[in-house]
Amino acid sequence: MTAESPVRPVTLTMAKKTTTVYDVTKHHLVPEHKKLSEKDTEELLKDYSITAKELPKILSSDPAIQHLDVKEGDIIKITRENPHSGNSLFYRRVTNG
């Protein structure tokens, strides 16, 4: 037994998990993410004659869609700005990983 206690005082700051430090949607490199309505989803799948399985995926925990209130299976529409070809669209299906 040593006379001195090995425990040193440590200060902890508690932060809520939901608080985002920085709103990534405001960043100029983050393109616009939008949730697709049911009707639009149907149309999209019909246009490309695919099932949702064939779409690229996006994690439901992706910082860029935290403000959207999404659930698994939703389709996210991403509008990317391209200096050469203007806007281009991209779609992703939300998964839980």
Partner: protein
């Protein structure tokens, strides 16, 4: 032709149906109703029985894509081995006294055909059609399968020796299963395997069975194939009875699917005998037969097995039986793997170890790395390459000796019989001759001086003559590393004397070839289909425009550029007759486009190569305008930007756009020759005096250098007196270094400007730089004025002794000359210290390239493999092989770069050029 093909494909299923009726293995539908263990999956691949009679339907069905639903890996059960076998092997003898295979021997005719002319006793098909059939032997005593030792051990350790239940209390079994299923679902199979392992690891120390309270003992492997329980050896019979007792539901926890892999099947009671087709015997020149290693090994197995049977039946003493049993175990083990530790490998009489099953598959010479991953091809050639600007861009020069070895099969027709007979007449040693004649039945005959006459005699339509390679034949030319599609292109053969493969220097760029000893490969397609495919998809013409940047990758290089630059810029007047002889030398005989004047300009000579209605507006390297109107150069001159390859060559791009690839190749070839011919006419030499500076310029350079040195000294002085403020984020020392580097680089640029200003622009060296054929202004400055600061990792050289680069400097010397500044020019020559600095950076960049090449090569390989099945579909989406979307619009803009000009489409010009 096409009709023949369909008939042929329809024939195969007939054979298959026959086999079905005989009730052998391959046919799922007429097989007994019961599900074959482990092969339930086969049911999904069944063809509809209704289609059995309709052959066309069968042919159609064969082309139907089947989606693989699942693959089952399992262990063959004894029952299944017997079911799939078409012969029971009972005797080690191979052939009877007449040399005929013995029934029930290892070369039994029911196991497949390996002799030409014979028919398979099982399926009725001939050599090469019959893939062979398995046989089996009934083993007199069970034998441990070497490759399953570890699984057997874990099952033995994890189950009770009395009741066979898994050593987990009843109530916890369900829980364990649940846990495994959950892990499987959440983390995948790999994690499940780990979890299984973790559970089983705990079981082996269990002392008492939770089901029947029997005491458990420790089991260890005695290498290679024995199990020891405490002091006692477990015989394979005992092991097998224990494994039999393990219930199906307990096997599940061990990770075994009992439908396809019961643990007791890992102890062999019957041994499957591989078909003869995978162990063919070879007939030696003496007429003797030499058997495959596997056959030898199987012979041992069968022989010992028979002896064991006999001894058991005769009631021989236990010791003899035990010995034979161990011997049988040894033979079966080495049959599977002849490189087992602690077992002497089975050997030939010569002492060379036998190559058995595992050795066939494993390692570099094994099936996978040697035969599957490393396939080799015939009708190909490889040698050193050399340039030949006189052959066309889409030709390849093939040495005559090569052309006499590489052949093209030509089918004899009524109209070419006489033509082909002449080839046979000349034979294999006179070019152009022929090496082989193939009869319609597939027999191949070598043409020799003796067989010549007979071959000509019997030649008739339907025969095939393998004639020597000739001019105009199609070949695929390739240089490794084949990083892009232009690394393999289709060329026309041009048979030439000499011993190297020749290529037009204009195609060096796509192959990334030079002639410092590079070798290249040549492939000769052997069928009409492959030749057509090569011509349409891989021709040099089709590859002019690179899909990487949408500009020509094939273009003029070196002399061709400087020649045309001289012609169009400097030669304003030349006698008409000289122009004509110039044009004739490049193969142009049409002079109506050449103005009918006593003297013509170089521009007019060059313009005769352009199409008459060609219009072009562009810029030169020096940003001067070029205008071509109706096939005449009205302003400007030609240089690298208009004629070159590799990301320039705008003129070529426009010609390609309007007149197509064939015209571009023709024009390019003429331009190339013209450039070279012009240089031959005028003479062109790079001389040391080309980089001579006038006295004033020399003095200017010296002043600039002295000033720089003074400036650096001033910087060092103010650093030492503490007058330099550090840049943000840098120390004072670093700041000083940055400032010095900036001064020295500025010095070199200043000197470069002086050189550019004062160097004679009419020298041939300067012309090469100005036309873009070779070299740049920086290199000129290095030759004429100074080499400049040598940088190591973006900094001045600091390596060497402590505090100094070389021992001839004082420690702490910060002057330019002590840290890699070379103030001499290459022409003047470097001092020893300067030369040493140059060597430092030279070695560094050498090491850098040597280390970077394999790294970037591997990176590229991974990218290429990851993206190889991506494809642009008709709806413009990019999808992978499973149909998953990767991009919704190819490249986000849907542009095919190879159809653009440098990635852009000039809409204005399209409007301007379409009336």
């Amino acid at each position: 032709m096409a009709k023949d093909d369909t008939e042929e494909t329809a024939e195969e299923p007939i054979v298959a149906v026959k086999a079905d009726k005989k009730g052998t293995l391959q046919m799922p539908e007429s097989a007994p109703k019961e599900v074959i263990p482990g092969l339930e999956g086969l049911e999904t691949v069944k063809t509809e029985p209704a289609a059995k009679q309709d052959f066309s339907q069968i042919a159609f069905q064969q082309s139907i894509h089947k989606q693989v639903d699942s693959i089952v890996f399992g262990v063959l059960s004894p029952k299944f081995i017997k079911k799939m076998a078409s012969a029971k092997i009972v005797t080690p003898e191979l052939y009877d006294s007449e040399g005929y295979p013995v029934d029930g021997g290892l070369m039994d005719l029911r196991l497949g055909v390996i002799d030409p002319g014979l028919r398979c006793k099982t399926c009725g098909s001939r050599l090469k059609e019959c893939i062979g059939h398995f046989g089996y032997i009934e083993l007199a005593r069970p034998i441990v399968h070497l490759k399953f030792i570890r699984v057997i051990l874990t099952v033995l350790r994890g189950t009770c020796k009395e009741c066979g239940r898994i050593l987990i209390p009843k109530e916890k079994i369900a829980k364990s299963k649940e846990l495994l299923d959950r892990i499987d679902k959440e983390e995948g199979l790999d994690s499940r395997r780990k979890a299984v392992h973790a559970i089983i690891e705990k079981l082996k120390t269990t002392a008492k069975c939770p089901h029947c309270n029997a005491k458990q003992e420790k089991i260890v492997i005695e290498k290679p194939t024995s199990f020891m329980e405490g002091e006692r050896r477990l015989s394979p019979i005992e092991v097998r009875t224990r494994l039999e007792k393990v219930p199906d539901e307990d096997c599940e926890i061990f990770g075994l699917n009992t439908k396809s892999a019961r643990p007791e099947w890992m102890i062999l009671t019957v041994l499957a005998i591989p078909p003869v087709t995978m162990r063919p015997s070879i007939t030696l020149e003496t007429g003797e037969r030499s058997e495959d290693d596997l056959t030898h090994k199987l012979g041992d197995v069968v022989r010992i097995n028979q002896r064991l049977f006999e001894n058991i039946n005769a009631g021989a003493p236990e010791i003899i039986i035990e010995d034979l049993w161990d011997l049988l175990q040894y033979h079966v083990t080495t049959f599977f793997d002849n490189e087992v530790e602690q077992l002497p490998p089975a050997r030939h009489r010569s002492g060379q170890p036998l190559k058995t099953l595992t050795e066939r598959i494993k390692s570099k010479e094994g099936r996978i790395r040697h035969n599957l991953a490393g396939k080799r091809t015939n009708f190909c050639a490889r040698t050193v390459i050399s340039p030949d600007p006189r052959i066309s861009i889409n030709e390849v020069g093939v040495p005559k000796i090569m052309a006499m070895k590489l052949t093209i099969p030509e089918v004899v027709q009524p109209w070419n019989t006489e033509y082909l007979k002449k080839f046979i007449q000349r034979g294999p040693h006179i070019y152009p001759g022929a090496n082989y004649v193939i009869r319609p039945d597939g027999r191949k005959k070598r043409i020799t001086d003796e067989t010549k006459e007979a071959a000509i005699e019997e030649l008739q339509p339907g025969y095939v003559v393998e004639r020597h390679l000739m001019d105009g034949d199609i070949a695929i030319f390739n240089r490794q590393p084949s990083l892009h599609r232009m690394s393999m292109m289709c060329h026309r053969v041009k048979v030439l004397p000499g011993r190297t493969l020749r290529l037009n220097p204009a195609v060096c760029a796509p192959y990334n070839a030079d002639f410092d000893g590079d070798e290249m490969n040549l492939h000769i397609p052997q069928t009409e289909e492959s030749r057509a495919e090569a011509e349409i998809l891989m021709d040099v013409q089709t590859q002019i425009i690179s899909p990487r940047y949408g500009l020509s990758i094939i273009g003029c290089i070196q002399d061709a550029i400087s020649g045309n630059y001289l012609l169009t810029k400097n030669i304003t007047k030349m006698p008409r007759h000289q122009a004509i002889s110039l044009l004739i030398s490049i193969g142009v005989t049409e002079f109506s486009r050449l103005p009918n004047k006593e003297e013509v300009s170089g521009n007019e000579v060059f313009a005769t190569l352009l199409p008459e209605d060609f219009n072009f507006v562009g810029e030169t390297k020096a940003h001067e305008p070029i205008v071509i109107k109706n096939g005449k150069i009205t302003q400007g001159y030609m240089d690298e930007v208009t004629l070159g390859g590799e990301g320039s060559g705008f003129l070529l791009r426009n010609i390609h756009q309007r007149y197509g690839s064939q015209a571009t190749i023709d024009i390019l070839h003429k331009m190339f020759k013209l450039g070279a011919e012009v240089l031959m006419m005028t003479g062109f030499s790079s001389v040391i005096s080309d980089t001579d500076l006038p006295q004033i310029a020399k003095e200017q350079v010296t002043t600039i250098l002295d000033e720089a040195e003074a400036e650096v000294n001033a910087l060092v002085a103010s650093f030492n007196s503490g007058n330099i403020d550090a840049f943000p984020g840098r120390s004072r020392k670093e700041t000083l270094e940055l400032k010095i580097l900036e001064v020295l680089n500025r010095t070199r640029n200043k000197a470069g400007a002086v050189v550019k200003e004062n160097l004679n622009k009419s020298t041939d060296t300067a012309i090469m730089v100005a036309s873009g054929a070779r070299g740049n202004n920086l290199q000129l400055a290095q030759m004429a004025a100074l080499v400049g600061q040598q940088a190591l990792r973006g900094q001045r050289i600091h390596n060497g002794f402590r505090g100094r680069t070389l021992s001839c400097f004082k420690p702490g010397d910060l002057s330019p000359e002590a840290h890699g500044f070379i103030r001499s020019s290459f022409k003047k020559g470097l001092s020893p210290v300067e030369f040493f600095y140059g060597s430092i950076t030279g070695r560094d960049s050498l090491m850098d390239t040597a280390l970077r090449t394999p790294k970037s090569g591997y990176l590229y390989r991974r990218l290429a493999n990851a993206m190889q099945d991506l494809k642009v579909e008709y709806d413009n989406t990019v999808r992978d092989a499973t149909g998953k979307i990767v991009q919704f619009m190819y490249g986000e803009d849907g542009l095919d770069v190879s159809r653009t000009e440098n990635g852009k489409i000039d809409v204005q010009r399209i409007i301007d050029t379409t009336e």
